[in-house]
Amino acid sequence: MSPHDTPQASPLAHHFADMEQQRDSAKLGMWVFLLTEVLLFGGLFCVYAIYRAWHPEMFFNAHKQLNVWMGATNTIVLIASSVTMALAIRSMQLNQRKPAVRFIFATLALAGVFLVIKYFEYAHKIHLGQLPGKYYTFTGLEGTNPHVFFTVYFMMTGLHGFHVLCGMGAMLWLLRRIRKGEFSAEYYTPIEMTGLYWHLVDLIWIFLFPLFYLIG
């Protein structure tokens, strides 16, 4: 079967020998990209580890200012979004375009819920003056330099939130392409790649949640 015979325009690029090589290359490329994300976030995990080790009491006290239930809800929301994303890909593997669209919508909606909850958390902190560095004006905390906890909190959840936004953008792009009929059970690589990215976003939160919300 020549790639030119498929109803959709052939997505085989000229420098690849066949679709399998192209697909495998895309997958390896996305995994390598995910590795760079691990190292990027990893730097912030390192900051967290060091400052927590230096000021364990302060971290313990400061973390009580966070709302465990909002954090836990967000964790469940992201886990659910990973399930819906995985199911979206599975639907496309079975050539079921409409369920795929619905699952991607669901993932998008759950991502939106995540961001809304985060918005409320951030707004509350801003109101109380629990902000990074010299903007920290909250006085209800014991321990040396409590602004450090909130610095690390805002940076890590902020960078994570930025990645959630980018993921949502990618999903919107996917929806557009699915509507144009660009994907099928034969070719759905971009959906799969977006899925990998989204699972990593979930993965990072899986670690962020206990580190910030469940300290002891």
Binding site: L39, G42, C46, L94, T137, F207
Partner: protein, 140 residues
């Protein structure tokens, strides 16, 4: 002809049971955190998080079914991250009092606080936390 592994379609039940397992583990980790276990809180929390992460990697991200290369690459990245954190902490945890310098000193802000009603200097109630931290640094 085409890679069998790529077209390997996981049954719906796999995704749903992994999802359920993740939810259960979340409940467990929240529950455990409600108890004061000292050092063990962190260890248990990180262990559970690692199990959750492994489930996501193996099933949602298909590492169990794909070319081993991706799993190896991921492990390498995590290993180097661990090297970064461990060797840096080898320094930060073995600093003497001189090396700890600014870290233990409470901060004196020059600018006025943004909320006049809460206008205490942060430095004034740090003595309790300060003592606790210097106790950690007394060994070389």
């Amino acid at each position: 002809m085409s890679g069998k592994q790529h077209h390997h379609i996981l049954p719906l039940s796999t995704y749903l049971s992994v999802g359920a397992a993740l939810l259960v583990l979340t409940v467990i980790t929240v529950a455990v955190s409600q108890y004061q276990l000292g050092e063990w809180n962190l260890i248990v929390a990180m262990t559970i998080a690692t199990i959750k992460a492994t489930l996501v990697l193996l099933f949602f991200m298909h590492l169990k079914y794909d070319n081993k290369l991706y799993a190896v690459a991921f492990l390498i990245a995590v290993t180097f991250l661990a090297v970064f954190i461990v060797l840096t902490m080898l320094d930060t945890m073995t600093r003497d009092e001189f090396g700890r310098g600014s870290i233990d000193k409470p901060v004196q802000y020059q600018s006025a606080p943004a909320h006049p009603g809460e206008g205490e200097e942060p430095a004034s109630h740090d003595t309790a936390g300060h003592t606790a931290d210097t106790a950690d640094s007394s060994h070389k």
